[in-house]
């Protein structure tokens, strides 16, 4: 679609206007970092954030979500159909959300996810610089995005170029922002900024993300898994912070008299001991090594194969930041790659 | 009429910790009259030795689940004086705010849930909920407010989290303070009704002259820091606390006894009232008038009435502190960093049950070399026994059941926190 321009000074009014009609969720300051939160004031938004502890997937798949409530034998499904705008999504996270869309629509579509997705408008952001030494989006080809968003913002000095991705995005812009069609000069600046940005992102992974499935295919028996397994806590942090993880547990909560309550799902982690244990007590992934292998297989191979065109890792680096014993995708994959060089 | 009586209350109920009452009268003569502390000894001072000073407040708050904020505060003050740490104004305001939260929490628990059942002649708050549901719901409401106030500042009431040497690891937001202020204002109605309720209670008429000891400060009704002040005219610097407490071991009690110049003294809400009543918030003074409380009051049963008065004070002071914090705005402050130089310090505060001292010696490696804690209930034990000895002969003719009831009520009025009081000997290092 078309390319529009919003002046920097018109951005806050745009956010404030949207807040009049939508729940607007954007990056805000959180202690020493950032998190996605519902804005109560437009000035809270921090579009220049580096990254968040938890990815914005929580907007589409909340950390905890009621599936239905019950009163004696009466069941009532719970859907969240609030109209919302998810603002300031980095492109790595956007790629991840496109993968989630596929995963939840596949087979029997997950009605709860689908409804929330249908009422969410995504305004993404182009990163012009790296967040820290952990991200490797360049290798995973998620450094930019040409689809998946409704609107996409690229900051160019005193104004934002706005790529319009969908009619919903177009309407959002038309109804809430002061914008104009990009001029030739503005397009030229966009061109310049975009072509200059690549060199600012170092290459950290010694192979292209596209080649990961092949590498993982020959790495099943690598001694590396035992090695990293010795260090791993099995703390699950890496899963919880990952934008492409979506496993969940299902639990029931009841009232004191046991007559009413709800069934809800909550984010889960394949690194936890219980994750694959069954009724007889058998655990199909007993050790940290087995569980780590599963996680990296999923990130590097299974998802790419199950959902062609998508990736199980988008290179955001969150898991590397979270892991206290330095078990990172870049480290693991570079090391496997070296073994098979 | 010659009276024989043997009373043996095994584990006084509705008090924190384990205590037994023993009375033995032959031919109208009191032969034995004791409050035995049978709580297991806990050895906190010994446990602190060799541990980083940063752990002290977290470990010692585990002395008591009811006055955990109080122990944490005294512990932090001891470390702060030992290390020469100055608190910011904001940190002082927050320390006071969470302290008021605990005073309120503990006093609601004691007056409504532990003492009130005696007046309604029931065994606990559960049947009380049947006869006076409004009062019980009000108590739960006020307790929730107090707990939430503590949680806002310290993370939770029992064993606060965010209190640390030099300040706080986490700060409440202005929005949270505003919401809390509104709830405190709403609570005034519950407080008025509380005063009205306790005004009607038939407090036992018993008086005995004794010495009352509390902290005092020139400019406020003291809860944290101050000068040790007694109704007998004693004034001591905190460093001289041993001149007041004079702890000694007593065989029938795993808690030590204390005495100043007389055989015993009293600490707690009534002592604070007797020493500092002029500094109470005007609304609290009104409540005192309504409850018929006048300094110096020598009826120990009225300790519970003094607690009601302090509840009013704490609510009003909390509102004031919230106002001040909201006006100043909350600022992030740098955490204290240990400079490699130890020292010795005393921390004192007026926890709900009275005067509490922590005294630490910290080495240059940041580890605790010596520790001593003196707990309010320990200081009250000798006084409780003196009261018992004075009271029993006066009522001996009323029969076993009534005497037992009056004694249990007396012990309860002191709001004893027996598990805290169980500790240990002077280690001379100040």
């Amino acid at each position: 679609m078309s390319l529009k321009i919003i002046n920097k000074s018109d951005l806050m009014p745009f956010v404030a206007n949207m807040m009049g009609e939508y729940e607007v969720i954007g990056p805000v300051a959180n202690d020493i970092g950032f998190k996605f939160a519902t804005l109560t004031d437009a000035s809270q938004v921090r579009l220049n954030y580096n990254t968040t502890v938890i990815p914005p997937r929580k907007t589409l798949l909340p950390t905890q979500e009621t599936l239905f409530s019950f009163q004696k034998d009466m069941l009532a499904p719970t859907f969240d159909m609030k109209w919302r705008v998810l603002l300031g999504v980095h492109t790595c996270d956007l790629h991840a959300m496109c993968m989630l869309d596929e995963a939840f629509a596949r087979g029997q579509p997950d009605t709860h996810y689908m409804k929330r997705r249908a009422t969410t408008t995504i305004v993404s952001m182009e990163c012009l610089d790296t967040c820290d030494e952990n991200s490797f989006c360049k290798s995973m080809n998620t450094l930019t995005a040409t689809s998946g968003f409704d609107l996409h913002l690229i900051q160019l000095g005193d104004f934002y170029a706005v790529d319009v991705g969908t009619t919903a995005g177009e309407a959002l812009l038309a109804n809430h922002a002061k914008s104009h069609e990009a001029t030739r000069a503005e397009i030229a600046l966009l061109d310049k900024t975009m072509s200059q940005k690549w060199s600012k992102f170092p290459v950290r992974l010694h192979l292209d993300g596209k080649d990961l499935p092949a590498l993982m295919g020959v790495s099943y028996k690598s001694p590396l898994w035992e090695e990293v397994g010795k260090r791993c806590f099995g703390c699950g942090s890496c899963n919880i912070v990952c934008p492409t993880c979506y496993c969940f547990d299902v639990r029931d909560e009841v009232s004191m008299d046991g007559k009413s309550g709800e069934r809800y799902r909550i984010w889960d982690s394949c690194q936890l001991d219980e994750f694959a244990r069954i009724g007889s007590g058998e655990n199909f992934r007993k050790t940290h090594a087995h569980r780590l292998r599963h996680r990296f297989m999923r990130k590097g191979k299974y998802i790419a194969e199950a959902f062609p065109g998508h990736q199980g890792c988008v290179g955001c680096g969150r898991c590397a930041r979270a892991c206290l014993v330095d078990i990172t995708p870049v480290g693991v994959w570079n090391s496997l790659r070296q073994d098979h060089a | 009429m010659a009276q024989n009586m043997k009373i043996d209350v095994h584990h006084v109920t509705r008090v924190e910790g384990h205590g037994n009452i023993t009375v033995n009268a032959k031919n109208g003569v009191l032969e034995e009259c004791r409050l035995d502390i049978v709580e297991t000894p806990r050895f906190f001072e010994a446990m602190l030795r060799g541990r980083p000073y940063t752990d002290a407040s977290h470990i010692t708050s585990r002395i008591c689940g009811i006055c955990a904020v109080g122990h944490a505060t005294a512990s932090l003050r001891a470390s702060e004086t030992a290390l020469g740490v100055e608190l910011s104004e904001q940190a002082w305001l927050l320390r006071k705010l969470i302290f008021h939260g605990e005073i309120l929490d503990s006093h609601v628990l004691h007056t409504y849930m532990l003492v009130a059942p005696d007046f309604f002649k029931v065994g606990s708050v559960i049947p009380l909920a049947g006869i006076a549901p409004d009062a019980v719901l009000r108590a739960l409401r006020m307790k929730k407010l107090a707990g939430d106030l503590c949680a806002m500042v310290g993370g939770r009431h029992t064993h606060p989290i965010a209190m640390s040497v030099g300040g706080f690891t986490h700060l409440p937001t202005v929005d949270e303070l505003k919401a809390m202020r509104a709830r405190l204002i709403d609570a005034r109605k519950d407080m008025d009704e509380t005063v009205a309720l306790f005004k009607t209670l038939p407090w036992p008429q018993f008086t005995r002259e004794t010495e009352y000891v509390a902290l005092s400060k020139p400019d406020e009704y003291a809860f944290i820091d101050g000068t040790i002040t007694t109704t007998d005219g004693g004034r001591y610097h905190l460093n001289d606390y041993r001149k007041v407490t004079n702890e000694k071991c007593v065989e029938h009690s795993s808690s030590k006894h204390t005495a100043h110049k007389r055989e015993s003294y009293m600490v707690g809400a009534l002592a604070r009232f007797n020493v500092n009543s002029k500094q109470l918030h005007p609304k609290a003074q009104e409540a005192a008038d309504a409850l018929g409380l006048k300094a110096v009051c020598t009826n120990p049963y009225l300790n519970s009435a003094a607690q009601v008065v302090e509840m009013v004070h704490s609510i009003e002071e909390s509102v004031k502190i919230c106002d001040e914090l909201i006006a100043r705005g909350i600022k992030k402050e740098d955490a204290y960093k240990f400079a490699g130089k130890g020292g010795t310090g005393v921390g004192a505060c007026e926890v709900p049950r009275g005067l509490l001292f922590h005294n630490y010696e910290i080495g240059d490696d940041g580890k605790i070399v010596n520790a001593n804690c003196i707990i309010p209930t320990g200081q009250n034990l000798a006084n409780i026994e003196a009261d018992m000895r004075a009271l029993v002969p006066q009522i001996l003719d009323q029969g076993q059941e009534k005497v037992t009831f009056a004694l249990e009520m007396l012990v309860r009025a002191y709001d004893p926190c027996i598990s805290c009081s169980v500790h240990f000997l002077d280690v001379k290092f100040v």
Partner: protein, 278 residues
């Protein structure tokens, strides 16, 4: 299947327990009735999610064959945890929730004209019974029919009456064994693989179906392959932890397969290279 706009895929349908029978010390057998005589519409080898409000859900195999459904289905439940214990405490007439059927069953139509060999261990006779009865009800469509069944001890053998009947039938070769006998037990003693020398098969025309605890099916697979049955004629049903039953929650993933979607019935050729499967 398309989802009506306002339905939750996690919302169970209410059903009733119309019959409960105690099978062993730890297993009970249930007949479940669906509302309005609705049929479950399942294939042999599929499972349902049984739901109890406030307790939770558990995947349970359907034990009855589609050929004998008419508004009811059967299941056998072993008491191991929260849901299964709560189920054991329910009596006839009690309401339960059902979602499904889910998963891939055994493609019995493809087996027509073949010899069928079923090897089941322990509780697994319950799910496999859905295939067995389907075959009995269309017996003419299949050639030879062999059933091998093993359990830890005689007390754990399920479906006593049906087994008696199978023993009498001439159109099935039924052999059973127990790992450890009792004084009363007069039959075979030994693990299920000790039954294999007692049968002869035509490997080229045999379809084998096996299900049981992991330790059992690993050995059975070795026997089947040892007899020369082609890999793509061997079917195995796997159990994994499951929370959703619809391929979302991730618990049942084994390598790139979701057990609840691609299984629980797998073709051996398909999964033999899947490291975590067997």
């Amino acid at each position: 299947m398309s989802i009506p706009a306002i339905e939750s895929i996690y919302l169970p349908t209410l059903a009733w327990i119309s019959k409960v029978e105690t099978m062993t010390a730890t297993e009970k057998f249930y007949t479940v009735e669906l509302p309005r005589g609705q049929s479950l519409g399942h294939k042999p080898g599929q499972f349902v999610q049984i739901s109890l409000n406030g307790i939770g859900e558990a995947p349970i195999s359907i034990s009855s064959s589609p050929s004998r459904s008419n508004g009811k289905f059967e299941m056998c439940v072993r008491k191991v945890g929260d849901v299964t214990t709560a189920l054991h405490n329910l009596g006839e007439g009690a309401q339960i929730g059902v979602r499904g059927p889910y998963g891939r069953g055994f493609p019995v139509e493809q087996f027509e004209g073949r010899d069928i060999l079923v090897a089941a261990g322990g509780l697994s006779l319950a799910p496999v019974r859905s295939v067995i009865n389907q075959i009995f009800d269309h017996r003419k469509k299949y050639d030879r029919f062999i059933i091998l069944y093993g359990a830890k001890n005689p007390g754990e053998l399920l479906f006593k009456e049906e087994r008696e009947e199978w023993k009498k039938r001439s159109d099935v070769e039924f052999l059973e064994t127990v790992d450890k006998g009792t004084p009363e037990w007069t039959g075979n003693v030994g693990v299920i693989t000790t039954l294999f020398p007692k049968i002869t098969v035509n490997p080229r025309n045999t379809v084998a179906i096996t299900e049981g605890p992991p330790i059992m099916y690993r050995f059975v697979l070795m026997e089947l392959l040892g007899k020369g049955i082609p890999e793509d004629q061997i079917w195995v049903s796997l159990e994994r932890r499951m929370k959703c039953g619809v391929g979302k929650c991730g618990h049942c993933q084994l390598d790139h397969f979701y057990c609840c979607q691609h299984g629980p019935s797998f073709n051996y050729a398909e999964i033999k290279g899947v490291m975590e499967a067997l």
